[in-house]
């Protein structure tokens, strides 16, 4: 394959023999400060309450507001028993539908009147339930007390659960109309196989089977301060707040929540092609990728650089190629998820039906190129500079600062992890990028999902291998489309 680059200014970096595909052009006349702004991510105040709850606080008095997030470790959907998808999420969402002393209506009214808002959820594949809230700092005591009631004394009233089930079942139907959901569902099953993270949605049967007793048991057995982290950011003073938290949450009983992670998902050994037939589609939603790394992997830092270079934004190779040069798509991006267990690297976007084949060709081209050709100094330095410099932007929001601390705590990363993060990014070499590209992005074994007009796109997909066909209900179709 001829070496070619979407960086038309390659000559600026001494690139030889490349025929630029892209019309992207660099004049290099803009005044750019050569210094990379060094920022220090502030460290939050860290403490532990007597009952074992870890607390992180970022003080920020710019505005009279507070954001709080409680991560309940071990209470998430990842640990749902087989056949009960949605139990963790339903338990979380039902917290504010009634407590021992308050009705659903009273909770809604009190929160709204205090200028506060709250939500609770557990994403599929997540080990955690996250209970979030934000509100005006002047009313913090009142809305936090209400939150405490929701967290510790939910009643899971039967009539509210019945209503919730009705709404869930409608939403199950609605989500099947979105090509994005259909692609996500098929891709998760393809890469996660029998791992619980393969599940991305409840089933109607599982929703129907939810009972107040099952929710209460999940809450009783798994909502424990000993495993959990409370993160608070905004207009608070730690010296005043910490005693208050002891007082608010002191009677939260501790339960032993020991969870063993399921066996890690493994990368695929053969390429597979999945078509989800969605009649009337005018675009094809494409996702391709495979299992890569977990958050503590030593390859995490080079993966950040590789992903940024390949599909991490509107200056990435995939974006410049498929959107800016070819005009195939409104947007194309790549990303990777890395949790306690390995998650997938993936790339994708929506392409008009007619150019699905051309788009696939470019995806494979860019993946092969990043494996086969070492990235040159110019683009590598720019990518790393972009990652490091964007750090400064995260300081605008106290909640973002807090999320860095949370990540460090959850994955047991070293205390100086974020202090040394820029230096670690800067240290990534072209060899590192190529090494992780070869290790995790394999065009011969990646999983490819396309949601679109089956009649038109199946022949295009078939050029990459045997095609498994599904309908938009999620069922395998025995007879392939014509």
């Amino acid at each position: 394959m001829a070496a070619s680059f979407p960086w038309a200014s390659m000559k600026a970096f001494g690139q030889e023999g490349a025929t630029p595909l892209s019309k992207v052009e660099r004049k290099n006349k803009a005044p750019v400060s050569k210094t990379v702004l060094q920022v220090k991510i502030p460290k939050p105040v860290e403490t532990k309450l007597k009952n074992g709850l870890a607390v992180l606080i970022v003080e920020d008095h710019r505005f009279p507001a507070v954001q709080a997030e409680l991560r309940l470790r071990g209470a998430g959907a990842l640990f749902e028993p087989p056949g009960s998808p949605g139990l963790a999420g339903a338990t979380a969402e039902m917290l504010r539908e009634g407590t021992k002393t308050r009705t659903s209506e009273q909770i809604a009214e009190e929160l709204d009147r205090l200028g506060a808002t709250s939500w609770a959820a557990s994403g599929f594949g997540s080990p955690d339930v996250v209970l979030g809230a934000s509100g005006l700092s002047a009313n913090f005591d009142a809305w936090f007390a209400l939150l405490k009631d929701i967290l510790l004394h939910p009643a899971f009233p039967a009539h509210e659960l019945a209503r919730k089930k009705q709404r869930l079942k409608v939403q199950l139907r609605q989500q099947r109309s979105s090509s994005g959901f259909l692609a996500e569902e098929r891709f998760s099953r393809a890469v996660f196989g029998s791992h619980p993270a393969a599940v991305v949605s409840p089933t109607a049967e599982a929703v129907e089977a939810l009972t107040p007793e099952a929710l209460a048991a999940w809450h009783r057995e798994r909502y424990s301060p000993r495993n959990s982290i409370l993160a608070i950011a905004g207009d608070v003073r730690p010296a005043e707040l910490i005693p208050k938290l002891e007082q608010f949450l002191g009677d939260w009983r501790t339960a032993e929540v020991k969870e063993t992670l399921p066996p890690n998902p493994a990368p695929a050994s053969a390429r597979k092609i999945y078509l989800v037939d969605r009649p009337d589609s005018v675009q094809t939603t494409v996702i391709l990728g495979d299992i890569a790394i977990d958050r503590r992997s030593e390859d995490y830092i080079p993966m950040v650089v590789l992903n940024h270079l390949l599909g991490g934004g509107s200056a990435s190779r995939l974006f410049l190629n498929l959107r800016e040069e070819k005009g195939y798509t409104y947007g194309v991006y790549s990303s990777f998820s890395a949790l306690e267990y390995p998650g997938p690297w993936r790339a994708g976007g929506n392409m008009r039906t007619e150019v699905t084949e051309g788009a696939l060709k470019e995806f494979f081209y860019e993946i092969r190129r990043v494996r086969e050709e070492k990235v040159t100094d110019g683009p590598l330095e720019e990518t790393k500079r972009s990652v490091v410099a964007s750090f400064a932007l995260s300081l605008e929001r106290p909640a973002r600062v807090l999320s860095f601390a949370l990540t460090r705590k959850i994955y047991h990363l070293p205390d100086d992890y974020w202090d040394t993060y820029p230096a670690k990014i800067v240290a990534v070499s072209a060899d590192d990028v190529q090494r992780v590209a070869r290790k995790y992005l394999n065009p011969e074994t990646l999983q490819l999902v396309a949601v679109g007009d089956g009649r038109k796109i199946k022949p295009m997909l078939a050029k990459y291998g045997a095609v498994e066909v599904y309908d938009s209900a999620g069922a395998a179709v025995s007879a392939p489309p014509l």
Binding site: A8, V24, E25, R26, A30, V32, S33, T35, V36, V39, F63, P64, A65, S104, E105, I107, A108, E109, D112, R113, L114, G115, T117, S134, G135, L136, R163, V170, R173, S177, S179, D277, P279, D280, Q283, S314, L320, E324, G327, T329, Y330, N350, M351, R352, E382, R385, S386, V387, V388, A389, S390, A392, L393, L395, E396, R397, G454, V477, A479, L482
Partner: protein, 461 residues
């Protein structure tokens, strides 16, 4: 606070500016005064010799800044046969200028740790970037170079036409309810200005010519037709000196023509039903024509929308979702527009059979609002939630820069960033009943129902 923040609006356009009136840069106002509200964003205003309005808000909380250039042009300025043009043109602004290569703008921003984009709505087009504080000159250089010397050529136009057509497919043609909003606009409005969508039609996008683009640029992208707002970590005098260096010698242009926004009074209910191939459940949109944004009636309707549908304690949520279990989601509120606006109630229903009862309940609730005072706690709730939402959005320098620019272009009043909450707080029960009676009535109503299309047989079966 309001549904659909995408479709923003207002009443007054900037008065035509004559550059001769301000021969030198002079502060228009310096606002530091404390207000009754919890938050006060300080800022200073200037006008350059060429008419460019400049709003600066220094804030050293984080080592970043956001720059926003808001042009007084949106899809309202399009003519029949050229829908979607203002937005298509927005894409052209990233395709290079005299000293910036095609695509180089985004690359320079991203490679220096920033982020950038542009958005077009019915009433304005804006461009913004957020960058680390040490790259102030870079942002100003990039915005000034394209204001001065955009490259308009056929190759770029064709390429971006394709991208925008993909944007249309992604956001309108390939998703459930994607065509509903266009049907709502087309049915409710009579005047072309707001009757069509910002994305435009495929046919019109194909019709756009290089000459259209060149004319459009000259007419609307002039310094005297824009506002530059800068928020963040810089020194005001140094920033102003740089702004003058990069922008002041860009020539002013004759003010663009005013747009006729007059909308005839509606005399009776309008209804439309569309079939949607992707939708699995029915959707109901009920809209009423109302006055422009930043008017007392508009603020009253904003509060009324929150009483109806903001949060789980709202009237329609309790009635339709909890009590009757007819719907799974509901929202209500006014769009903010500079011209005749819409109050929109949107409901995702469980079944087609439930639609008539949902409508009946909505009209009963509107009738109640027009005839009975709301409870004091409901008003208190709206004020508190508005305050919280505003504060949470203001952490971002980008939001502040966008709001300052938008309020300047829409209402000639960037101070609104500090006064909008008090306008909401002043709304009383009498106002709610008055606007309820004046606008939320049957003759002023448009109802659009999006129904799932009868299943076609999938090709794979």
């Amino acid at each position: 606070m309001r549904i659909l923040p995408l479709f923003l609006a207002g009443l007054l356009s900037l008065p035509p500016f004559d550059p001769r009136l301000l021969a030198q840069t002079a502060p228009l106002e310096q606002l530091q005064k404390p207000s009754a509200e919890a938050v006060e964003i300080p800022f200073q205003e200037y006008r350059l010799k060429n008419g460019l309005r400049v709003v600066l808000s220094e804030d050293h909380a984080a080592p970043t800044y956001s720059l926003c250039v808001t042009y007084n042009v949106g899809s309202r300025d399009e003519r029949p046969g050229r829908t979607g043009f203002a937005h298509l043109f927005e894409h052209m602004m990233f395709q290079g200028s005299r000293n910036v290569g095609k695509g180089e703008h985004s690359i320079l921003i991203l490679n220096n740790g920033g982020s950038a984009n542009g958005t077009t709505n019915v009433d304005r087009t804006n461009y913004f970037e957020t960058l680390p504080a040490n790259q102030l000159e870079l942002g100003l250089f990039l915005e000034s170079d394209r204001m001065r010397s955009l490259n308009v050529n056929r190759q770029n136009l064709d390429n971006q036409r394709h991208t925008v057509q993909e944007e249309r497919r992604q956001n309108y043609d390939n998703r459930p309810y994607g065509k509903t909003y266009e049907a709502v606009l087309d049915t409710a409005y009579d005047n072309f200005a707001y009757k069509h969508s910002t994305i435009g039609s495929m046919e019109d996008l194909n019709r756009a010519t290089v000459e259209d683009a060149a004319d459009f640029f000259k007419r609307y992208y002039a310094p005297n037709n824009g506002v530059l707002s800068l928020v963040g970590d810089f020194k005001t005098d140094e920033a102003l000196a740089l702004i003058k260096k990069y922008f002041e010698n860009i020539p002013a242009q004759p003010p663009p023509p005013a747009v006729d926004m007059t909308e005839p009074e509606q005399k009776g209910e309008r209804r439309r039903t569309l079939e949607d191939a992707f939708a699995q459940t029915p959707h109901i949109d009920i809209v009423y024509k109302i006055p422009p944004g930043n008017t007392p009636d508009w603020y009253a309707l904003d509060v009324l929308g929150d009483v109806l549908a903001a949060g789980a304690s709202s009237r329609l949520y309790k009635k339709l979702i909890k009590e009757k279990e007819l719907a799974v989601s509901v929202s209500a509120g006014p769009h903010e527009r500079r011209g005749p606006s819409l109050f929109q109630i949107s409901i995702s229903a469980r079944t087609v059979d439930g639609v008539p009862e949902i409508e009946k309940i909505v009209y009963e609730e509107l009738e109640r609002l027009a005839s009975e005072p709301v409870a004091e706690w409901e008003l208190e709730k709206v004020r508190m939630q508005s305050q919280r939402q505003q504060i949470e959005s203001l952490y971002s320098t980008r939001t502040r820069a966008s709001l300052l620019g938008q309020y300047a272009v829409y209402y000639n009043d960037p101070r609104l960033i500090n006064t909008v909450l008090s306008k909401i707080a002043q709304i009383a029960n009498d106002d709610l009943q008055r606007v309820g009676r004046a606008y939320l009535k049957e003759t002023n109503r448009t109802v659009v129902i999006t129904a799932p299309k009868a299943k076609s047989t999938p090709v794979s079966k």
